[in-house]
């Protein structure tokens, strides 16, 4: 049982409940897949808040805990391999350490891949905050035949090293004691940072002399000099502003002559790492074939790997339909409808507009989004498990070639695929993509993937219009959309990013057993934070659309929404759509399946016979054009909220919506025109 020690640690560490005035600030740094989240969740439990770093779309997690009657604030830095300015995550991490100067930085290190993990430590020890190394997964290292001496490593680094197995709670108490010792100056702290490779030492000295005295306040001078040599854009900009012009010319000339210095800096760090590893690792990894290698023979194979991926995704969708959909129906029947009935009865005495607003507008609209929560949670769980186990990178690897067709690379595959369930997890899932460009493009394309709600509309309407060939038409529609995505991907990549594809280079981490606590907390936080952030927007849009559909007379047929529909009819004519179908499209902004319910209200058919009525009213060409338009139309409000949340920009969000609107109208018109030529 692994629960015992964890509980023991939990009893010793009370998850702090409120902000203490004089808390010690501890930052948690480490590369991805190193057990950082495990330690963070173990220490802070549910007492953590998730937000964004100011001005960035990088997730910021912080929490409190108390240990030995002292309160600690724990700040989880983004998982990074290094501290260059190449990604927002790395800039966030280093700016926090330099500017906010936490009392201690815990550097989590994976003992089984020590060499790789120490790279970040090589950068951390040059920063002003004291570092304590958490040598995690020491059990895995032992299993692989590796023997590491923490004391020797500590002496070589000049930094305390605590061996631990965070997943089992081992070593956590010791880590906290060491942190306390460092904060109170009970242990000497004298890190031995790496030196730049010998051939560049003179250059570094020249730069240091030139910029000496003009480095702005919290930045350490030698660190800035090193970053200049590395060609770091942020620091170059900073120093260009801070140094006198004539001196900068000198500095710039040196940097231009040594534009390859970055390799020397990185090389120096790896030389340093090599010394540490040679000193501390008394027995290297046995040459045996590890679990990862055995699994990867199948998981990364061009044929079997794709088959395994298809199996895993099939399982995810099977789970969605066997667990998610029934739960969704239950939520709808009992919670949303139940609440609506209850509130409706309770508000019987109030004016009709008020009870209508609350019951139909707020509960109806927000409820439609809430019923999607089970599917959302299932997809968050799937993403969480695949990420935690280490499989995500393999999926990206086997799908890389295919994704090239869309101007994307492998990492975009899984988020986009989840879009077949719901666009929201697809957009939130795009976080796994480290290149900003590829992430934006993935978010941009995700709403085009036909989600379950859009497919439900097709499943309802296609049989009425196309009878026995409904299945064929449905598949045709999906293929059409996929083709549109591929074309849009290539074009957008060309137009916006000049055809430059983000580089595909990433670590394939070692597989490990999933940590259910980490995954559970991740699901909880993602769902909660999405509802919190999207909630307001969803509420406002629900109320507005409801009001438009009821005012002024209380009837949909004579409402403002209908008036808008009539007004848009000249546009709709190109797609064969009359005002009723336009209103149905507009109403789908709350939730895609709303278009059916809206048509039901307009035609006064309720549930039964609507499909037949529609087939009798409209030509097949109109039916087809409507289906195409609704497949590509602007997404539901929850998706819009997700785009806004993940891109951090209303401009980008509106651009995305405008693109989808234009695309859907053009495609609808083209299909209508073609269908008429064919004689449908």
């Amino acid at each position: 049982m692994t629960v015992g020690p964890v509980q023991a640690v939990e009893q010793a560490i009370r998850n702090g409940s409120e902000l203490a005035q004089s808390s010690v600030v501890v930052a948690l740094a480490g590369r991805p897949n190193v057990g950082k989240s495990t330690l963070f969740n173990l220490l802070t439990g549910l007492n953590q808040h998730v937000g964004n770093w100011p001005g960035k779309t990088v997730e910021r997690k912080a929490g409190y805990f108390t240990f030995d009657d002292r309160t600690y604030e724990l700040v989880d830095l983004p998982g990074t391999y290094s501290l260059t300015a190449n990604s927002a995550e790395e800039v966030v991490a280093r700016e926090y350490i330099i500017r906010d100067q936490p009392d201690v930085v815990i550097a989590m290190v994976d003992a089984a891949t020590l060499e790789r993990s120490l790279y970040l430590v090589a950068e951390l020890v040059t920063l002003p905050a004291p570092v304590v190394v958490g040598l995690n997964m020491i059990d895995v290292a032992r299993q692989e035949g590796m023997e590491i001496e923490p004391d020797v490593l500590s002496a070589a680094l000049g930094v305390p090293v605590v061996p631990m197995v965070a997943a089992k709670g081992e070593g956590v108490r010791e880590l906290l004691v060491v942190i306390d010792d460092v904060v109170n100056g009970r242990v000497p702290y004298s890190p031995k940072p790496p030196q730049i490779r010998a051939d560049h030492q003179a250059v570094l000295k020249d730069i240091l002399e030139l910029i000496g005295g003009s480095v702005p306040a919290p930045y350490p001078e030698d660190w800035v000099a090193l970053k200049l040599l590395e060609g770091d854009q942020e620091i170059t900009k900073l120093m260009k502003r801070s140094v006198a012009e004539d001196i900068w010319e000198h500095v710039y000339a040196i940097l231009r002559d040594h534009d390859d210095a970055l390799v020397a800096v990185a090389g120096g760090r790896y030389e340093w790492i090599g010394r540490m590893v040679r000193a501390a690792v008394t027995r290297p990894k046995a040459g045996q074939i590890g679990l990862t290698e055995r699994l990867d023979r199948w998981a990364t194979h061009p044929f079997w790997g794709v088959l395994i991926l298809a199996g895993i995704l099939g399982l995810a969708f099977w789970l969605t339909y066997t667990v998610g959909t029934p739960l969704q129906d239950l939520l709808d029947a009992y919670v949303v409808t139940g609440l609506a009935n209850l509130v409706g009865a309770w508000m019987a005495g109030t004016p009709a507009w008020l009870s209508g607003l609350v019951v139909e507008g707020i509960i109806g609209g927000v409820g439609a989004v809430i019923t999607f929560l089970p599917i959302l949670v299932i997809f968050f769980a799937v993403m969480g498990i695949l990420e935690d186990v280490g499989y995500m990178a393999r999926a990206a690897y086997v799908m890389d070639g295919f994704m090239h067709l869309m101007g994307l690379h492998g990492k975009s595959f899984l988020p986009l695929f989840l879009g077949f369930g719901c666009s929201v997890p697809a957009i939130l899932g795009a976080r796994v993509i480290d290149s900003k460009r590829a992430r934006l493009l993935t978010i941009f394309l995700a709403p085009l993937i036909p989600c379950t709600a859009r497919m439900a509309v097709i499943a309802f309407l296609a049989p009425a219009f196309f009878g026995s060939s409904a299945m064929l038409v449905s598949w045709g529609l999906v293929l059409l959309v996929l083709a549109v995505i591929a074309i849009a991907g290539v074009l957008l990549n060309k137009l916006m990013f000049h055809g430059e594809r983000a580089a595909f280079i990433m670590e394939l981490p070692l597989y490990h057993v999933p940590n259910w606590r980490t995954i559970g907390l991740l699901m909880w936080q993602r769902s909660l934070s999405f509802l919190q952030k999207a909630g307001t927007l969803i509420l406002v849009v629900s109320v507005v659309v409801w009001a438009l559909s009821r005012l002024p007379g209380g009837e949909l047929g004579s409402s403002y929404l209908a008036a808008v529909g009539h007004w848009l009819e000249p546009v709709g004519r190109y797609m064969g759509l009359d005002w009723r179908l336009i209103v149905a499209l507009l109403a789908s902004f709350i939730a895609k399946e709303n278009s059916i319910a809206t048509l039901g209200v307009i035609f006064g058919t309720g549930g039964g016979g609507l499909a037949e009525t529609l087939a009798a009213t409209y030509s097949t060409a109109t039916g087809l054009a409507f289906l195409v338009t609704q497949m590509l139309f602007i997404p539901c409000v929850a998706t819009v909220a997700a785009i806004r949340q993940e891109t951090g920009s209303w401009r980008w969000t509106l651009f995305n919506l405008a693109f989808l609107l234009a695309l859907s109208l053009v495609a609808g018109a083209a299909v209508f025109w073609l269908a008429q030529i064919v004689g449908l």
Binding site: N86, V265, G410
Partner: protein
């Protein structure tokens, strides 16, 4: 297959006399040492921080001659696109 890379300048010899080739030219199971990286600043920084620095031993775990490949460098498996692998020049270990 590797000679198709657009990134390679035509003036460059495909394989120098001392056995320097792009990483993408190594077959599965072959061992080599990194000699030189030729990439833009951003990619260069990522490659270097992932452990591809001159002198680092590498081996290829998987290379099917097309699509991305997997290399082992500094104890870690790195997946990289064929284009990216073409920018890492390595010297084959003599057997």
């Amino acid at each position: 297959m590797w000679h198709r890379h657009k990134s390679r300048r035509s003036s460059e010899p495909l394989e120098t006399a001392d056995g320097v080739v792009p990483l993408s030219a190594l077959g599965t199971g072959e061992h080599a040492v990194v000699v030189e990286l030729s990439a833009g600043h951003g990619l260069l920084a990522r490659m270097a921080s992932l452990g591809f620095t001159p002198g680092a031993p590498v081996s290829v775990i998987q290379n099917f001659g097309r699509g991305p490949l997997i290399a082992l460098v500094r104890d870690t498996r790195i997946a990289l696109g064929r284009g990216e692998a073409g920018r890492i020049m390595v010297r084959r270990n003599s057997r």
